[in-house]
């Protein structure tokens, strides 16, 4: 999907150009990992090994991968419940994520959080939040901590276009702009908040302008193109690191699967989905770019094999890892005071 032709309101902060070869290959590999991981998760869900809610990220991979490439170690990421891709992009282990999906002790939250609730302080991933829009205020809080400590870090708060109508999102825009917090707000506009299309939910026709009343620069970005995402993310990061305050990126993206596993997706046509997959798939575009760089089919096959092995290993681990012992019911409710 082409972005708004008039990409605008860009930060004046100077940025580096597009991805180098190494980054291009890494982007392809990371997107492939997310795609294969999510397919496997869908499969395990179908087999009854994953329960409850399970929101797959298939189709949107370019967004997290492109943004993560523009971040530095120590920067923080926070998102909603559609979070598997974000975790893998931050470098969290596929094993720990998949084992959390199956509710096992080997999962990132010892099986107590599930698909929507995982965290890794080490990788700067702050969840995994199930209340739509909550992560935006919390994300402003991560940026607040960076501002308070003056440590030069940047926080990225991802949310869907559905969440973008929540009151606390606008409260967070105001607070972040008022205090000049280093926060990148990323709207992952996949066109549908559950079954309600963005046109039926938002009077705003250009979500990238939603921060305009607070003077937050915004860009609409082709979220199906990892290069475009990366370039925009670089501008956003540079803006925040320069102490200029928050930045808003509206990623025009698309999820191929339903809202969650139990969504029959009757609110859109099969043709619409097929068209996106065939004409705008982020992986296909990235694959073409990697080939254009002179990589051979054999080299690509090696990446495929590596990714497949990781995903299969994660699925095996997620089934072999035991369920949490019953004693875990009563742990982690309160931190014991020292």
């Amino acid at each position: 999907m082409p972005a708004d032709p008039a990409i605008k309101r860009r930060s004046k902060a100077t940025t580096k150009p597009a991805m180098d070869r190494e980054q291009t290959v890494k982007a392809y590999r990371d997107m492939l990992l997310i795609r294969r991981f999510e397919e496997k998760a869908g499969q395990l869900y179908g087999m009854g090994l994953i329960g409850g809610f399970c929101h797959l990220y298939i189709g949107q991979e370019a967004v997290v991968v492109g943004i993560q490439l523009a971040l530095k170690e120590g920067d923080q990421v926070i998102t909603s419940y559609r979070d598997h891709g974000h975790m893998l992009a931050t470098g969290m282990e596929a094993r720990g994520v998949m084992a959390e999906l199956t509710g096992r002790i080997g999962g990132y939250s010892k099986g107590k959080g599930g698909s929507m609730h995982m965290f890794s302080r080490e990788k700067g991933f702050y969840g995994g939040h199930g209340i739509v829009g909550a992560q935006v205020a919390l994300g402003a809080g991560l940026a607040f901590a960076n501002w308070y400590r003056q440590d030069g870090r940047v926080a990225v708060a991802y949310f869907g276009e559905g969440a973008s109508n929540q009151g606390q999102v606008f409260e967070s825009f105001n607070l972040a702009a008022l205090m000049k917090l280093p926060c990148i707000f990323v709207i992952e506009n996949n066109k549908y908040g559950m079954g309600t299309s963005v046109e039926r939910a938002s009077a705003s026709r250009d979500l990238s302008r939603n921060g305009a009343p607070w003077g937050i620069p915004g860009e609409q970005v082709d979220g199906m193109n990892v290069q475009a995402v990366f370039e925009a993310a670089q501008r956003a990061v540079a803006h925040c690191r320069a102490g200029l305050g928050p930045y808003l990126l509206e990623m025009k993206t698309y999820r191929y699967r339903g809202h969650s596993m139990s969504d029959p997706a009757k609110y859109r046509t099969r043709e619409e989905v097929q068209k996106m997959r065939e004409q705008h798939d982020c992986l296909e575009t990235a694959r073409a770019e990697v080939l254009a760089l002179g990589m051979t089919e054999a080299e690509l096959k090696a990446i495929d094999d590596e990714v497949k092995a990781i995903v299969q290993d994660s699925a095996d681990f997620a089934q072999a890892s035991p369920e949490p012992p019953e004693g875990e019911l009563w742990t982690d409710i309160l931190v014991e005071a020292k």
Partner: protein, 456 residues
């Protein structure tokens, strides 16, 4: 090698479904994302997509078949490269997926560390030596200042806390001493700034969030409960939230229903939170310091009417109290009156009146609502054999209900009379002076309740 395609579960509750239609025929090539079949559940018709590439070699369940169990084999795919990643035969997965009860997993369910059974050491409170009278307002301010001097990660955030010096003048002087980075005036956006403070606490900072009154915490209650209180558990212990939410709670005077409500029961209901309700200046100072140091989210319920009242408070620079310990404010032998916050004062007055009538009342100041010091309450009731609870909040599922139930569970045989609750009336707070007075607990009611349970 052929791979089995299994009947998928398409919702958290699905156990079987109808295979309505095959969209691919035997011998047809499929690639990832292709729709293979349509399945009808009790809720909807769903499409089954191929996960990997290959050739559909065999269809085992013809279309139109009803009651196809989840995980039964419905077709086979001759996997090209993707075959191996396709669903494996159900046997293999079935075995792996079987629950794996661990030998070392102890069945600790019986040892429920409930609010009630929280083991609280019964060591006597330390003697902090010299005291001098200060107001509750000063005690709160001094507590925050002391902790902010002690720890650079502590900051105060809220409406009017800085330049205005606090809507109730609790933060007087703090902006001057600590500057605008640590004493932060917020716009009127409780939801937003509470979420922001909670996010900051996830990184290890220790915010003190001042609500102008706890009534406004309702705007932010999602972050207090869903974000601050539950994340430690949901993260398997990785992400704590060392944050203090404080401000005046309960009825002030003539401010009507939306500004006169006790939140003790609301917050005390939730695991993952601690809830404190100080009465006097020593409670306020010692417990607020403890709350700020506590690595957990703490709700600190103050009372506007108490702000200006003076009480003796230890002068020791290190003075701090332990959370979770009630205090016997007055010893007695005939009846136990359990109260918290401003109602402790009324309980003390009632005890005075009862003494004149020859009834010896023991007054327990809860100080901490969660964890609740059941041990101190039970010890007292075992001595007096009678219980009156006193609170400003509503009766239904109130703190008095919980205290009475704890006594039932732990000292039933020691009771010589059914416990009695004295509470605010079960109505929104009226504005009219006469009605407001009627809606709140009154001294004569407490005296009467004590007389009733002692059958005098």
């Amino acid at each position: 090698m052929g791979a089995a395609i299994l009947m998928p579960a398409l919702s958290p509750t699905m156990t079987e479904g109808k295979l309505a239609r095959w969209l691919k025929k035997e011998g047809e090539a499929v690639k990832s994302g292709d729709v293979l079949a349509e399945i009808e559940t009790d809720k909807a018709t769903m499409e089954v997509e191929a996960v990997d590439e290959g050739t559909l070699t065999r269809i085992l369940v013809p279309e139109g078949t009803e009651g196809v169990a989840v995980n039964s084999v419905i077709a086979e795919l001759d996997g090209g490269e993707g075959g191996a990643a396709q669903a494996a035969p159900p046997g293999a997965h079935g075995e792996k997926a079987a629950p794996l009860p661990q030998a070392e997993a102890p069945a600790t369910l019986t040892k429920q560390p409930s609010v009630a059974a929280q083991p609280i050491a019964s060591a006597p409170e330390k003697d902090w030596g010299a005291v001098k009278p200060i107001t509750v307002r000063e005690a709160l301010r001094d507590a925050m200042a002391a902790e902010m001097r002690r720890d650079a990660d502590v900051f105060l955030i809220g409406e009017e806390v800085g330049q205005y010096q606090g809507a109730y003048k609790i933060s007087q002087g703090l902006l001057d001493e600590f500057g605008p980075r640590r004493v932060l005036d917020m716009p009127i956006t409780e939801h937003g700034f509470t979420g922001m403070a909670t996010g900051a606490a996830f990184t290890g900072l220790k915010p003190i969030v001042e609500f102008m009154t706890f009534n406004f915490s309702m705007q932010a209650i999602d972050h207090i409960i869903n974000s601050a209180a539950k994340t430690l558990y949901m993260s398997g212990g990785q992400l704590g939230c060392p944050i203090t939410f404080r401000g005046p709670n309960g009825a002030a005077s003539r401010v009507a229903a939306q500004h006169s409500q006790c939140y003790a029961s609301w917050y005390a209901h939730c695991p993952g939170l601690k809830v404190i309700a100080p009465w006097n200046a020593a409670d306020a100072k010692g417990l607020l310091r403890a709350a700020i140091r506590d690595p957990n989210p703490v709700i600190f319920l103050e009372n506007e009417i108490l702000y200006g009242q003076s009480f003796d408070c230890p002068t020791d620079e290190e003075f701090v109290l332990e959370i979770g310990k009630a205090k016997v404010e007055r010893e007695g032998t005939d009846v136990t009156i359990v109260a918290f916050s401003i109602m402790v004062g009324m309980a003390m007055q009632a005890a005075e009146k009862l003494a004149e009538q020859g009834i010896s009342a023991e007054v327990v100041n809860l100080r901490s609502i969660r964890p609740l010091d059941t041990e101190t309450i039970v010890r007292s009731v075992k001595k007096t054999n009678r219980l009156v609870t006193l609170e400003e909040g509503w009766p239904f599922a109130g703190i008095g209900s919980e205290v009475a139930m704890q006594v039932m569970e732990h000292a039933f045989d020691h009771l010589d009379a059914p416990p009695v609750r004295v509470t605010g009336l079960d109505v929104p707070m009226p504005y009219a002076a006469n009605l407001e007075k009627l809606a709140l607990p009154r001294l004569d009611q407490v005296v009467e309740a004590a007389r009733n349970v002692t059958y005098r």
